[in-house]
Symmetry: D2
Subunit: 289 residues, 4 copies
């Protein structure tokens, strides 16, 4: 059964009467408002809204609704997007050699806990092919060797375009993507970093966490930008650890944090509950509907 | 500096167009909406809203605003209340012999973290007088002995009325209040129970938690009703424990949970973020403003 | 690579000099002690120890070691058991219709995070066969219909015996086992209950949690005994929830708690970190080695 | 009632038979071992032990016990210390202008939850005098102005020495101490940093956490060393936050994390459950006794 609801994400300068104007706009067109979540950033004087409408039996076509809304948006200086929940996004997963994040995404998707298609998995190593096979997802192995990195990225991009990919998930893909690549999918590449950013940016975070003697370790899901591990954070979590844990044990505990954090971030994105503003994210909670 | 904002709490049967109608009502009267939090209970088909207005430089008197809103409320079948944040509530604390919850409330209130007056502390024991003294709050010791319980409650009620008490906090007051007492302050008595309700209702929860061998212990703040430990829950929390903890250690760890949970519940109530519906509570999160 | 270590679990009346006596016993036989965890129950005056030895290049056979230790044990009134980590236990999973706990166990086992063989999955429904297939584990569907329950249990027992099963995991097996069945595997059947015991024993815990309006939900893994949901608790966890969650959403959030709690309990059991004492468990933490 | 127990903290190169040798040493002298916690660092090949003895009715004087133990320690290359629980440490609190950490320490100490004397509070500002008064602790206000910093530190040191201070707690003391000062109390100065180290070292961590858009904030208690915010970490904790929290709200939420983390660290130190090794700490859990 497809979900007939429609989500508008709106961002604009804060001003008086916004809720009344927006909610009245939809009410007058006879749309039932299922939920309406807002946030006013009093430092930047920006207003953010996620409004969810019942799309069943409504009078307007998609095109008409967009045109009408665009008029209001122009008047009130909105940046906005509209999302039909019945449109299922296409997600590509990039992975190197570790299974935990990939497994979690494939399980949740196959069990209907994440609403997305996964038409392909791409890797620079052959190791995860068995897992792709287990879930019957096509697996493309595109190794990186002596200076073919640009070429390899071109192959990935070609695959992403051919499959009409809406979201790229880096599920422990241990390669730094070029600016060229990233700029083709702005706000559409989610990476998992195996540390509680901004602590332990870059390589070997578990080893460094061990050496620093921290009492908790964490993981961070963020949108990839040109600054490594500096993109807008979507989700983070941590777990208590003790002096008794070796770097290897930390990595094993961390794997469970990584998978949870990445899956939550992917779900927030796919449910259109994220607005990126500067280098921060507004995350509208799930319980709002 | 007093907070000039105004909070409306609204509950009504779910129906189309509510947000638009309510927000337009306030917009047309030139009130700026600072935040608007909603929840639709799809099982009971009830709608709940907490709407916060900027009350600075507004055209209407309190009486006028209430009269106008009452007209809308009648039409749409609202149960509602309005709260002026500049009206500071009077809170009475009832306590028996333990300091931790009392201490937390007095500290937070004295440090401005909880906005309320505490004109008096009432106890059936003299033990906590030194703490009341430390924070310079009047302390009334009304012991219970051979059958004077009804009388003692009458004395408490007289004190509460004389001090225009809006909220009664049972901060480990180890007496069961009569129905008579409770019915005079419906939805206005908050109790802390030292267990994760509905587990371990009644007496000696830590001893029973120890005997059952649970791996976490908790505390529950709820509105007192005539059914012991059965009232609407406001807040709960838990802490991990191990086999190595004796009932005494559990009580000591639990004390920290109790104080946190009770203080959070009191703050939610005082900030008008709670609506009671049946035996459940709707808690609007703090971050909504 | 097999793990050559040996674990002794010991329980005895508390008495002076136990650590010295036990550690000297092993030292004198030239065993290196890898870790030694203890707990003294000061209420029951019982002493518990988990001691882990390096079994590499040791002078004694298994039989000799047991015989020697039995002499000490007799003198000091030990209840004890010895476990060779290179002996991989056989685990049977019983499941009805839900995938989440089964999935977690199969993934962890297949990824080497849980050291056990899973020679078979048994169900009273055909629904989970695809998952068993995905992980290439034999699946036995033994439906229950008009009064064949005793017979069905006999068939299960026959399968467990034929496969030399050491541990039975009830991964959301929605049937109450008979005393007869349970008494054949004392301390060897782990059940997951989808509530924070002792709250919400029995059926429909998520619906009842919703109705009670709790602010956290949980799950409990315990050893099955003849008293339903009353056996020794191994592990529990909870998650914060809000009024906005329906019973269905609670069940979905709860599913993630259940799988984590059950897997942790199974791992504690398989790593010989659990001693049952009365209706409680001593759980020696992982970090102790 | 004074606690008659004796705690030995031991660190040495890992070697076979250590538990047997140490526990036999005490058993032969007729000391009852109340608890014995160990940790083997398999990377540095170091062994750590905290052993707690019943000191009631024992045959040796303190001097004799130390002399005897020193012989064993020499043979096995121990670094060690012995602590008599009946010796109550003297703690000085240094604070600038904020009350939350100070309050927590004073409350816990006055309620007997932390076993220490607090003979004085030192500040570079007069603001917290009222709190010191409330708990009847002497308050020394030593302001810093035009280049008197070295002098001011000398005054502090003089006070610490006069009061035989064993532990210095920087409860939000917003001054960087000189190397000279720190080197006089090695491993005896505990600082609270209002961020989850190593993230947000230095000034204004809450503002920077806000700007980075993190989804959790934290606090870290560590021993002060000459490298600012780089000393051995004793305790950390975090709390989930949302985009809706301003830097000011983060600071207010953070205050509760800081006080909890600092108090836990101070208690671990005072209960002799901490061994510093390099830039890391071994923390023996409370539940071990």
């Amino acid at each position: 059964m497809t979900d007939p609801s429609i989500v508008f994400l709106i961002q604009c300068p804060d001003q008086k009467g916004l809720i009344a104007k927006i909610s009245s706009f939809f009410s007058e067109l006879d749309y039932n408002i299922l939920s309406c979540q807002q946030f006013t950033d009093e430092i930047q004087h920006q207003y953010f809204m996620r409004i969810k409408l019942d799309g069943q039996g409504v009078p307007l076509t998609r095109k008409e609704l967009s045109q009408r809304f665009a008029e209001l948006a122009d008047k009130l200086d909105f940046t906005w997007s509209v999302h039909y929940q019945s449109d299922i996004a296409n997600t590509a997963i990039l992975v190197s050699k570790t299974s935990h994040c990939l497994f979690d995404l494939l399980e949740r998707q196959s069990q209907g806990k994440i609403q997305t298609n996964i038409p392909l998995i791409i890797s620079n190593h052959p190791d995860m092919e068995y897992l792709a096979d287990q879930f019957r997802v096509p697996y493309y192995c595109l190794p990186i060797k002596d200076g073919n990195k640009v070429e390899q990225e071109q192959q990935i991009l070609a695959l992403l375009q051919r499959h009409h990919i809406d979201l790229v998930v880096l599920a422990r893909y241990m390669q730094i993507l070029t600016s060229d690549f990233i700029s083709q999918y702005p706000g559409k590449i989610i990476n998992i970093h195996h540390a509680f950013l901004p602590a332990f940016k870059g390589a070997n975070p578990y080893r460094r966490a061990y050496e620093r003697g921290v009492k908790m370790i964490g993981a961070t899901a963020h949108y990839a930008t040109n600054d490594l591990d500096e993109g807008p954070i979507i989700e983070q979590d941590v777990e208590r650890v003790s002096h008794a844990y070796s770097p290897k044990t930390l990595a094993s505990i961390g794997a469970d944090i990584e998978r949870t954090v990445l899956t939550r971030a992917v779900r927030s994105h796919l449910e259109h509950r994220v607005i990126i503003t500067g280098n921060r994210t507004i995350i509208f909670p799930e319980s709002g509907e």
